[in-house]
């Protein structure tokens, strides 16, 4: 994935909302977030990525840590990325709120609050994801981050189909 370095000046704040419908129950979509074995598959793993560590303690105040790097042929091959977060609030099958930071090569480049709401619909689930974040020096920036999340929520759909 290409990254764009934003101006080395101050902090940029951004909020975006992504909604994604899934043709399966909120319980099943929620389980893809709460079960470490499942979450790792769609959230951490990827064709161009190597997961070095995945630890998840799914409870309020529990932490989640993903360490990974990209393969040869990708931008920033081999460099260590870390995504670490703390669960702020969990309402089973309804809501997850997570605060997390992202780092590259040991340097933090963003901090964010993510709200996932699992809403039952006639056809399955409407997942409403609200991202509220602060981007620091050297970060990808809000637009690329939003694209990244849209892709992830697509990957989740593919994962749920295969399950």
């Amino acid at each position: 994935m290409e990254t764009k370095v934003i101006e080395e000046r101050g902090v940029t704040h951004s909020t975006f909302v992504i909604e994604h419908s899934y043709p399966t129950s909120p319980e099943r979509v929620f389980a893809a977030f709460s079960d470490p074995g499942k979450k790792r598959r769609w959230f951490a793993e990827g064709v161009h990525k190597v997961v070095d560590e995945f630890v998840m303690d799914f409870r309020p105040a529990g932490t989640e840590v993903v360490r990974y790097h990209y393969k040869e042929g990708s931008p920033y091959p081999g460099l260590p990325f870390v995504n670490e977060g703390t669960y702020q609030d969990i309402v089973p099958n309804r809501r997850i709120v997570n605060a997390s930071t992202m780092s590259l090569g040991g340097k933090r480049f963003s901090a964010s609050l993510g709200t996932f709401e699992f809403l039952p619909t006639e056809t399955g689930t409407n997942l409403v994801f609200t991202f509220q974040g602060a981007f620091f020096e050297g970060s990808d920036g809000p637009k690329i981050r939003e694209m990244g999340w849209r892709m992830l929520l697509d990957l989740l759909e593919a994962y749920l189909e295969r399950e």
């Binding site: 901090a111 006639e122 602060a134």
Partner: protein, 157 residues
């Protein structure tokens, strides 16, 4: 079809202080100093404050709202995790607010310290998710009039 029950908001507060960024930063980093300004005196009684000022460290504070306030003597606590610290420049925290054992919000708060000719410009940005939870405290029943009075007092001072 149920609607989302979380409301999101961002607000920014900017302040100027005639002190260097180093001194303003110290007022955050030193728990003894932080307690002196961070502890609310209006409408609440202080109960506890502990801080471990480092990335990944935790800060905990607890207050009790006064009997005549909208929250009627309920205990309010903040659980804070330090997300990012750049000495004399930036502090980012994530924290939740719990009222009478109900978690009612989660926030990301950024404190930026910018050096100016006079001293420091503090830029505070709070991005919050507020849980309008039907199980939570019914603030609305009492809060409307008291809030107006409190807003009025603060704006007048």
């Amino acid at each position: 079809m149920p609607q989302p029950t979380v409301t999101h908001s961002t607000f920014v507060i900017e302040r100027s202080y005639t002190a260097t960024p180093q001194r303003v930063f110290a007022a955050f980093a030193d728990p003894a100093k932080k307690q002196r300004w961070f502890v609310e005196s209006d409408g609440v009684e202080f109960e506890a404050f502990e801080a471990d000022f480092r990335v990944g460290g935790k800060e905990y504070s607890r207050f009790r709202s006064k009997e005549d306030s909208p929250l009627k003597g309920a205990s309010i606590s903040n659980d804070t995790w330090y997300q990012d610290i750049v000495p004399d420049k930036r502090i980012v925290i994530a924290y939740t607010m719990t009222v009478a054992d109900y978690r009612i919000s989660a926030s990301l708060a950024t404190f930026e310290l910018v050096p100016t000719a006079e001293g420091t410009s503090l830029i505070f940005t709070e991005q919050t998710a507020f849980f309008e939870n039907s199980d939570g405290p019914k603030i609305r029943e009492e809060g409307w009039r008291e809030l107006l009075e409190r807003l009025g007092r603060e704006l007048a001072s």
